[in-house]
Symmetry: C2
Subunit: 191 residues, 2 copies
């Protein structure tokens, strides 16, 4: 698959076939993609925790907030929840900062997930204090992001952004998730 | 090409066949990969300036600092410099923050570059004040990063990190660039 097709297919998914297990080996293969990606100053200060059992998944799920633009939707119901989670940590023993390593690593992970027939959702709305306690994290670890993964149970389509410039994604009556994207020329600045 | 192979080939390059032009159309295709990648809250606040002429490349090059670990190397000599640059900007009219969008976008761009036979280098050591002046940037644009691109003129190899844990990349007597990487198990934390 060419990279463009892979990127096009790598959308954010929030509903999954929860019963479809994601193996620990699959998660390790995804982390290996992050490992092989570039990192600022070659510091490699990001670490990862992997979760893919029914019990451990619950410990992560309850500390996440879903889909900021959907005011009347609290996240996927039981049966449509992610089958696995990757918790990305910053190891502050190695470095205080990490440039844009987190984005690079996340993109490698989700592109790899797409190739494996999986999809995911990246979280910044995390109850970081509660999750750090739940996971008994040593204080030198900071939670950077959580990536939820599973076999997607929804259709996500990209469409051209309307005149209004509204960036909000929306769900139609068939449950299809629509994501408005700016046009290429609107991203390129020429002085 | 599978994503793992593409990621493995996507190394940081600092010497190029400077005469090999990178077309504006190629740069636009790379920005389109960033455009199609996910962005926090779907805000899409990153913008891009593209440079690929001899004259404009000079304006970017002089504001970059190369290879922090090479104290006796000021960057590539004339003839081995990048053939193109992408300057990534944050459009603060849209949003103050951008989560880890910059890393996601950079990774999409450099993976696309690899597929096209190009290679690049990502910069944080930028004289941002001077470059913003050079480019006459409106004050609502902040320089996030610069990506230098070209046809690579060096060999870069990944190797296992030594016992010492030294992260510094190094060049051998043949000019081959070596990058020590941590082992997968060292990146995975189990509490």
């Amino acid at each position: 698959m060419m990279i463009r097709e892979l990127i096009e297919k790598t959308r954010t998914y929030r509903r999954f076939y929860q019963d479809e297990e994601v193996s620990l080996e699959t998660l390790r293969e995804l982390i290996d993609l992050a490992r092989l990606s570039s990192t600022g100053g070659n510091l490699q200060s990001l670490k990862y925790m992997l979760f893919q059992t029914v019990e451990s998944n619950k410990r992560i799920f309850k500390n996440l907030k879903w889909a900021g633009y959907f005011k009347d939707w609290d996240g996927p119901e039981e049966g449509e929840r992610p089958s696995a989670y990757i918790v990305m940590l910053q190891d502050q023993r190695i470095s205080k900062g990490f440039f844009w390593d987190h984005g690079i690593a996340v993109q490698s992970i989700v592109l790899g997930a797409t190739e494996k027939g999986l999809g995911g959702c990246q979280f910044n709305s995390i109850d970081r204090v509660a999750l750090a306690q739940e996971l008994n994290l040593p204080d030198y670890f900071q939670i950077v992001t959580v990536i939820a993964l599973g076999k997607p149970k929804e259709v996500v389509v990209i469409e051209n952004m309307g005149e209004s410039g509204d960036v909000k994604y929306w769900r139609d009556s068939q449950g299809v998730h629509h994501v408005p994207k700016r046009a290429l020329d609107d991203l390129i600045f020429t002085s």
